[in-house]
């Protein structure tokens, strides 16, 4: 396919020489942020939309990559390509959209896989613990460097939605609109529990070496696989799993089955399609994701809790926010259920803020925020057309 008709993305990098103080008390001396932009910044720099990513995503939000001959690289679409692009709900003909890879991630921004300038060794487990607030601070510096004072909107799903919410609290004067999708004001005990099991799987993998596996020439793939499998279960709904996989046996199983004995009767080999799917997801993930990044990002999720500084009172916490809000949740999302979004809506209404809220009836669970659902896309499109662009 020729790239003429599609949005072509070009990753960029920005260096920051000034140390970034972190919430933990530590700081990052110098760092780089990978980012991409789509569309054109207008003359008064009022049409910028910042997209914040979730656990395993990156700055490559929209568009495709092309090879040296100008041909589109297959499957190189950005992770929110259904949402962002020309004539899409977040229309890049109208908005200047910025995707940025967070500090501590593993897709180009400074993170555990890179050299610690203080020691000239790979950071590994020594990379400082970063929080949602730290990411927002780093993103704000990127906007400074791009000459953008005020965002038309900040937007994200899941952990990205937490960053959007944090923006409205840390830099209320710099955000006109916040779009918070499939998110929550903090993690529940169950959310933390799933994160903790995933972290234990990684940390107790003998190839983890206390987080300094890079020097040993190994990767804790076993742990990463388990972490991803656990995560994946929580991203899907019970319904969509039953619909897609149910109790369906893997083809190889049904082909070799003898009459009256539908199974292979094995504890270690695959019997059911769902097993095959999960193993594939785990294997794929373990090939490209950094184990220390997984620990850092799940911890950032655990720590996020804007209400904690206000005795647990979310309404008081959100009093600082002056942006207008769109919140979206999905009925079958049991990771960040609609009730969690409604907590945010209520706290904003308690402060007489301008809030739109859509609860989308979608079967896909938490993953729905990444999918191309008509009603969901329609709600975001309307919001950007009627409110953000107004």
């Amino acid at each position: 396919m020729s790239a003429a008709s599609v949005l072509v993305a070009t990753p960029q990098s920005m260096h920051f020489a000034e140390a970034l103080p972190l919430r933990s008390g530590a700081s990052i001396r110098a760092y780089d942020l990978s980012y991409e932009t789509y569309g054109e910044l207008n003359a008064d720099k009022s049409n910028a939309v910042l997209i914040c990513h979730a656990l395993n995503a990156s700055h490559h939000v929209a568009g495709v990559y092309v090879d040296e001959r100008g041909e589109v690289i297959p499957k190189s679409e950005g992770w929110w390509d259904s949402m962002i692009g020309p004539d899409k709900p977040v229309d890049t003909k109208r908005f200047f959209v910025i995707g940025v890879n967070n500090l501590g991630s593993c897709f180009g921004s400074t993170g555990p896989m890179q050299i610690n300038p203080d020691t000239n060794e790979i950071y590994g487990a020594d990379f400082p613990v970063v929080t949602v607030q730290d990411w927002v601070s780093a993103q704000a510096r990127l906007l400074d460097a791009l000459g953008i004072q005020t965002l038309a909107a900040v937007m994200g799903g899941s952990l990205g939605g937490m960053q959007a919410l944090a923006w409205t609290l840390q830099y209320p004067e710099r955000v006109r609109h916040a779009v918070v999708v499939a998110s929550a004001p903090n993690l529940t005990a169950e959310n933390i529990a799933f994160n903790e099991v995933a972290r234990r799987a990684i940390v107790t993998d003998p190839d983890f070496h206390g987080g300094h596996f890079y020097q040993h020439g190994v990767l804790p793939k076993r742990g990463l696989r388990i972490a991803r499998m656990i995560g994946h279960i929580t991203y899907l709904s019970d319904d969509v799993m039953n619909e897609k996989f149910g109790r369906q046996l893997r083809r190889a199983v049904t082909e070799t089955a003898t009459e009256g004995a539908p199974f292979r009767y094995t504890t270690q080999d695959i019997e059911f399609e769902i097993e095959s799917y999960l193993r594939y997801q785990g294997d794929k993930f373990s090939e490209y994701f950094d184990a220390n990044t997984y620990l850092l990002i799940t911890r950032a999720l655990d720590y996020f809790d804007p209400a904690s500084a206000f005795g647990g009172n979310l309404s008081r916490a959100l009093a600082q926010a002056t942006a207008k809000f769109l919140l979206v949740s999905f009925t079958t999302d049991w990771r960040f259920s609609p009730a969690r979004s409604r907590e945010i809506v209520k706290a904003l209404l308690d402060n007489q803020r301008d809030v739109s809220y859509a609860e989308i009836d979608a079967p896909h669970g938490h993953d729905a925020f990444l999918l191309d659902d008509d009603r969901y896309m329609g709600v975001v499109r309307s919001y950007f057309q009627s409110k953000v662009a107004a």
Copy 2:
């Protein structure tokens, strides 16, 4: 404490010299079953109640153990001691109650930790795959040996409930009542997915050695810990986790916290109480549970599906059952939700069977079936008094 006033349990063992043919086509040449009995078998042998256990339990259902001086051993209560005993819902003054450890388990009955008589080596991963139906066949032989033709009731929770249901299909003429608590007619894709992640954690532990770790003098504790942590999350409800742990920080964390920095900012150490709790559960479990047994029992769960031989039609499958039924489910159980129990109720009603059903409003999730809830205990007590003893 003296044992005079309490029910004292005495584990027994029964040897079976005749090979047991298994569903898989394999067979177990000879085997032992550990069991316990409470109360007295009446003259016409009509008051026997068989209790079937779930994933990690055993034949030690009720009562306590005493040491050689006759003193009660602390914390030696059976796993369903709140349910079974003198004057308890299943009253051992009236009923002769039998607990039996299933084949393939690790509490005395023949299983992967024992010697394979064919090879004189520890079974390990070579222990044949067993199904719920195989367990029922083995339990039936134990009843034969005890001279019991007909059970007043067969009863179990979770996987134990599946065995109770299977009893009514395999030996309809031998069961007067079936009490099926917090169970399901089969696993959903999500249930299988959680089992599969747990199994992968065990199998990919380098200390697993393909299931022959006994010869290597190691135990795959890392994998068992992860498996148990995952399981534990699914046993509890989101609500009860929030109530018990919420976002509460571990005491050590709050004590060392500095003003404005409530956390220790660490990815590998414990911050939240829920993490501490899960790690403790995982550690404890990995000390006593056999890894091959975990694989076998989760597979038995995966395979159970009485409707599959009837084109997925549960009503047709349950037409074979002639017992009277009590089904109990718990509102916050998301592992085997009330809807799954209602599927069984509906299928039995389609066959004009005598069915009682109680949906207990309890906050504890799947674990509720093991807890001492007044309404739950009351329902079982009434059923045994008014129906089973009638």
